[in-house]
C-alpha cells in the first residue's frame, strides 16, 4: 500500500525543504496450515507493521546528525539521506526512513 501524501502539514525534516513525500505501509503475515485437506486456515497473523518513508527535497543545511523526521505526527527514523543532483547552487537530496507503529 503506497500513499503519496504530498507534503502534509507538520511534516518536517531539519535542513531539507521538502518537495515530495511518499509513505508505504506493509505487514508480514503468517498463516497456519490447518493440516486438513480443503479447509481454510483458522489462524492468520499479521506482524511487523512497518511504515516506510521516502522523500525528496532541496538541501538547506541538512546535518548528518539529523536522524528523525516528523510525518503525519509520526516519528520516522531516517535510514539514508543522499545528495542526488545539483542545479546551480541548489542541491537535491533524497532519503528514506522507517516507522514501527507497535514500537511506540
Amino acid at each position: 500500500m503506497a500513499n503519496n501524501v504530498g507534503i502534509p502539514a507538520g511534516t518536517t525534516i531539519s535542513g531539507v525543504e521538502l518537495t515530495s513525500v511518499t509513505i508505504t505501509g506493509k505487514v508480514d503475515t503468517l498463516i497456519i496450515d490447518p493440516d486438513t485437506e480443503k479447509t481454510m486456515p483458522t489462524h492468520a497473523y499479521a506482524y511487523n507493521d512497518t511504515l516506510e518513508l521516502s522523500f525528496e527535497g532541496i538541501d538547506i543545511g541538512f546535518q548528518s546528525t539529523t536522524n528523525t523526521a516528523q510525518v503525519l505526527g509520526k516519528n520516522f527514523k531516517l535510514t539514508s539521506v543522499t545528495l542526488t543532483a545539483t542545479a546551480g547552487d541548489f542541491k537535491k537530496v533524497s532519503g528514506r526512513g522507517v516507522h514501527y507503529p507497535k514500537a511506540q
Binding site: E17, L18, T19, S20, G57, I58, I60, T84, A85, T86, A87, G88, F90, K92
Partner: protein, 195 residues
C-alpha cells in the same frame, strides 16, 4: 489541462518588443549565435560595460532572419542616433533584457555528479548541436534557426529524452521550493547570517 511548468509556458508564449523604437523578432538561435560570435556585452547579464552602439547592434541582430545578417551601416547608426536626441540608455537596455529573458526560458536541469555529465545543459549541446538535433527530428533548418531560444531548448531536451537520454528537468514544485529557499537565503543574507 493547466501547464504547471512556468518556464515551459514562457518559452512558448512571448510578447512583442520594441527597443530604440524598432520592432524585434523573437530572440532566436540565429540571434544568439550572432551575438555570441560577436562577443556582445548584451549577453553578459550586466557584467560588462554596454555602450549605445552595442544596444543598436543587438537590436539590428534581433531583427535578422536566418541566413541573413541585418548589420546596420554607419549611416543607419548615425541616423537612428539623430532620431533620438536624448536616448534613455538605461530604459532601452532594460527593455532589451526583458526581451532576452522572455525568450530565454530554457529548462532547468538537475545535474548528477560523475556519470551525469550529459545532464548538464551546457554539455548537452552548443547551438549547432541543437540545430542538428532538431533538423534530424524533422524541423526545417530555417524553422530551427529562427526558433525562439527557449522553445528550441525545450524541443531539444525532449528530443534527447525520446532518444533515451536520462534528463531530469526541475519540476514545478521543485521550482517553488527553490524560490522559497532563495527567499530564505536572501533574508538570512540581510540579517548577516550567511556571512
Amino acid at each position: 489541462m493547466r501547464i504547471e511548468n512556468k518556464r515551459l509556458a514562457e518559452a512558448f508564449i512571448n510578447k512583442s518588443y520594441k527597443v530604440l523604437g524598432l520592432s524585434l523578432k523573437p530572440f532566436s538561435l540565429w540571434h544568439l549565435f550572432l551575438m555570441e560570435s560577436a562577443g556582445s556585452p548584451m549577453l553578459q547579464g550586466g557584467q560588462a560595460l554596454v555602450r549605445w552602439q552595442d544596444i543598436r547592434w543587438a537590436v539590428s541582430i534581433s531583427r535578422s532572419v536566418w541566413p541573413n545578417i541585418n548589420w546596420p551601416s554607419g549611416w543607419e547608426l548615425a541616423k537612428s542616433l539623430l532620431a533620438m536626441p536624448y536616448p534613455n540608455l538605461y530604459k532601452e537596455l532594460y527593455n532589451f533584457n526583458l526581451y532576452l529573458l522572455d525568450h530565454y526560458s530554457i529548462p532547468l536541469i538537475w545535474q548528477k555528479d560523475g556519470d551525469g555529465a550529459d545532464q548538464n545543459i551546457d554539455n548537452l549541446g552548443n547551438i549547432v548541436t541543437i540545430t542538428t538535433s532538431l533538423v534530424s527530428a524533422g524541423f526545417k533548418l530555417s524553422e530551427v534557426w529562427n526558433m525562439p531560444v527557449g522553445m528550441a531548448y525545450w524541443y531539444f531536451v525532449n528530443a534527447q529524452r525520446l532518444k533515451g537520454a536520462k534528463i531530469d528537468i526541475v519540476s514545478p514544485n521543485e521550482e517553488v521550493a527553490m524560490e522559497k529557499v532563495q527567499k530564505m537565503r536572501q533574508q538570512n543574507d540581510s540579517k548577516g547570517l550567511n556571512s
